[in-house]
């Protein structure tokens, strides 16, 4: 482990992986808060206020985790990938700066009013502040996903000397993969937040079965999840077809398809064998691969061999993709069955509450898996066809990267444990006590 590029990737990956968990939760949780706040405004039911305050605390804590890990990222662009900014800074820079300008200040300032201003501002200002924070988190996602999509499927740029610059900003922002990625990520956030709400409410109900606020947030979360989960299945399929068109090597690796094939089977599970270019212990469904990817049994799908040597590794993509899809299916099952079991004010059986609690972080794990697929799937490129990852790394030595990686790892581990302890503690106490 003294390869600087690998260490730079490990460090950046650790950081961005840790960071993304919190926006993935807060983007949609902010909209739940808008819902709770508006419900209180309309009904004047104190229980909605208690619910709002509880989840506002969860939001504030998660937001703080996101802010501090996000600041780290703004520095690591320069420390880990200096040539990224040298080469494509004229495109990536403005997108990142627009995120800071349009979203970060908005979120941070109005979060202060949300948290501490309820007795100091008129009701409508407080409702609008909640709305601004939610709008800010979504706007932030817009810019960062525009940049990521441009790195995946770049359009609208021209080479000027040694730098890539934007020829057409609309094309840079609205690249072919952007609408799919944006929709997929927003729904992923919706599912992440729903399952955190469902899971923690269930955790509370296991301790206090009569907590009406918890029963109500449980139902609200289940309803949102039951609507979003199947939509996500459809959006994910469309995103996959879009990837097949623009980044076919990624799809080949995700499906562990080594050789270009007609009548491609769908590999359900296997152990991809890089050395021998085949799958061991594969369980497959005949024709299903062609059917899903080409919507025809005869459709030809290009295999990994067609893209050598510029293709991502197979095993991580293959497994991460299956974790994501598997969890997606589980979320559909849980949210549908849960909605049915709690219909018309019925209370969920204890075993189901345990299942919900166990699934609290299913959205997180699925989102992280999805990002692993799309980011590792872009390798060996940092910006597809424009800049290779190894050419973007800087002069930071293995020793510097190694020691700071250890430093970050310890900090993140400590923060994560503390976060989890507090989160479960707050949820266990409930909204009204």
């Amino acid at each position: 482990m003294d390869d600087p590029v690998l260490l730079a990737r490990a460090q950046f990956g650790l950081n961005i992986g840790f960071h993304i968990m919190f926006p993935a939760l807060t983007i949609a949780l902010a909209w739940f808060l808008v819902g709770f706040r508006v419900a209180y405004q309309r009904t004047r039911d104190k229980r909605w206020l208690a619910t709002y305050k509880l989840w506002l605390k969860v939001f504030a804590l998660s937001f703080a985790m996101g802010v501090v890990s996000g600041i780290t990222m703004s520095f690591q662009f320069g420390t880990n990938w200096p040539n990224f900014m040298n080469k494509v800074g004229a495109i990536a820079g403005p997108l990142l700066a627009y995120e800071v300008l349009t979203a970060f200040f908005l979120e941070a300032t109005f979060l202060g009013i949300m948290l501490f201003g309820m007795n100091r501002v008129p009701d409508w200002v407080h409702v609008v502040s909640t709305f601004f924070v939610a709008g800010g988190t979504t706007l932030s996602a817009f810019w960062i996903l525009a940049l990521n999509s441009w790195m995946q499927t770049p359009t609208g740029q021209v080479l000027d000397g040694t730098q890539w610059i934007a020829a057409d900003w609309l094309q840079v922002i609205f690249t072919p993969s952007f609408p799919y990625r944006m929709t997929h990520m927003l729904i992923a956030s919706g599912l992440t937040a729903s399952f955190v709400i469902v899971g923690l409410s269930a955790w509370r109900l296991l301790r206090a079965a009569s907590d009406e606020s918890a029963a109500r947030t449980l139902r609200a979360g289940l309803l949102v999840a039951a609507i979003l989960a199947p939509v996500q299945l459809f959006v994910g399929d469309q995103h996959g077809l879009n990837t097949l068109e623009h980044q076919p090597a990624k799809i080949a690796s995700m499906e562990a398809l080594w050789h270009t094939t007609r009548e491609m089977p769908l590999v359900l599970i296997a152990i991809p064998n890089e050395a021998e270019r085949r799958n061991d212990y594969a369980i497959e469904i005949p024709y299903a691969g062609s059917l899903i990817l080409k919507h025809s049994i005869e459709g030809e799908v290009k295999g990994v061999e067609a893209f050598e040597p510029d293709r991502p590794p197979v095993a991580p993509l293959f497994f991460a993709f299956r974790v994501m899809v598997g969890l997606g299916m589980l979320m559909i099952a849980l949210s549908w069955y849960g909605s049915w079991a709690t219909r018309k004010g019925r209370s969920a059986p204890r075993w189901l509450l345990w299942a919900f609690s166990a699934a609290t972080f299913s959205g997180w794990i699925a989102t992280l898996s999805g990002w692993l697929v799309t980011e590792i799937g872009r390798q060996p490129w940092l910006v597809t066809g424009i800049l290779r990852t190894k050419d973007a790394a800087g002069e930071a030595t293995g020793a510097q990267l190694g020691s700071s990686l250890t430093f970050y790892l310890l900090t993140y581990a400590g923060l994560f444990v503390a976060y989890m302890v507090v989160l479960t503690h707050m949820a266990g106490k409930g909204a009204e006590s």
Partner: protein
């Protein structure tokens, strides 16, 4: 236009950094002062920065964001050379931010632990920001002398933040805590005076470029207005804190204003020392700037959005203006 825009963004970056220093400076300073207060006072101190610290920290992101997006060629050099202090500072900021949230939800020895981490985070973030500045001014030279110089700047910046934190508390608090803050402010002021004097003397000694810019008669005479004004404001602040011990005539915001003025003057001196370099002796503003097409897009965004940011920041400070009386979270 292509000549002016890099300069415009150099100014924008400067303003963002100065805004960061005087705003996050006071909440980091309050964090450093925590161990000197009683448990009750600590709650008030934390409440005085609660609505603001998050947005204050965002100015750092804007400063680094402008460095990253407008001067990408310098971003890698600067942050690469400052690698380890940057990591240490970031870990400090992380501990501070998270400890702030968690200490409010903790009880017993847990709260003690988070209080301690809040202090450690505030202190190390401040100290390492100072060492970053120290290395930056000297053009990232290595050697024992430069190392000691950067430690000195680190310690001085801690003093500066303590001054900002103490003057902020004069504005936000009452009674015994305000009286303590007045004394803390004088300690901070002495510390800053010592730090600024040492740094001002040492900088020309370690950097020939800076020496030539300041010791060039007759320009030197005009430039001496800057330290003279700093000394005058420092003296005014000292006597004001004495006077405020006896009276409470609605002048409690003034010490913070004077502290900001001291920082602004020091900042102007620094900017003069550096100009036209982004990386001293190595890279000018124009060499570091991104492609003009990128700058134009940034400029449009900044012109449209920055007034809104300033507007709602002022709104937030108005909403949460005056003395702190309530605790956080009801």
């Amino acid at each position: 236009m292509n000549e002016i825009l890099p300069l415009v963004f150099f100014v924008v970056m400067g303003i963002a950094v100065l805004a960061y220093v005087v705003l996050d400076g006071y909440d980091l300073g309050v964090g450093m002062l925590m161990p000197a207060a009683t448990e009750d006072e600590q709650s008030i101190m934390v409440a005085s920065i609660g609505p603001f610290w998050d947005a204050n920290e965002t100015w750092l992101v804007l400063g680094v964001g402008v460095l990253l997006s407008a001067f990408p060629h310098a971003h890698g050099i600067v942050l690469g050379a400052l690698y380890m202090p940057v990591v240490a500072m970031l870990v400090g900021l992380m501990l501070r931010g998270v400890a702030f949230e968690l200490r409010m939800k903790a009880h017993g020895w847990h709260r003690g632990l988070w209080n301690w981490l809040f202090w450690v985070g505030s202190f190390s973030a401040s100290f390492f920001q100072g060492t970053m500045l120290g290395y930056y001014i000297t053009g990232f030279e290595s050697g024992v002398g430069y190392f000691l110089f950067s430690l000195m700047v680190g310690a001085s910046l801690c003093g500066g933040y303590v001054l900002l934190g103490a003057t902020w508390l004069i504005y936000k608090t009452e009674g015994a805590l305000r009286a303590k803050a007045l004394a803390w402010a004088r300690w901070g002021l002495l510390w800053v005076a010592l730090g600024v004097a040492l740094v001002s003397l040492a900088t020309p000694a370690v950097s020939a470029t800076v020496r030539e810019k300041w010791f060039d008669f007759p320009r030197t005479l005009w430039l001496m207005l800057l330290p003279a004004a700093t000394v005058a404001i420092g003296a005014r602040l000292w006597f004001l804190t004495r006077a405020l011990e006896k009276s409470n005539a609605g002048r409690d915001l003034m010490p913070y204003g004077l502290a900001v003025a001291i920082f602004t003057l020091a900042f102007l001196g620094l900017a003069y020392s550096l100009y036209p370099y982004v990386v001293i002796d190595r890279m000018t503003i124009w060499q570091a700037a991104t492609h003009p097409s990128g700058l134009k897009v940034l400029f449009i965004g900044a012109v449209i959005v920055l007034p809104f940011i300033v507007g709602y920041t002022i709104l937030s400070y108005r909403i949460f203006g005056g003395k702190v009386r309530e605790r956080l979270y009801d």
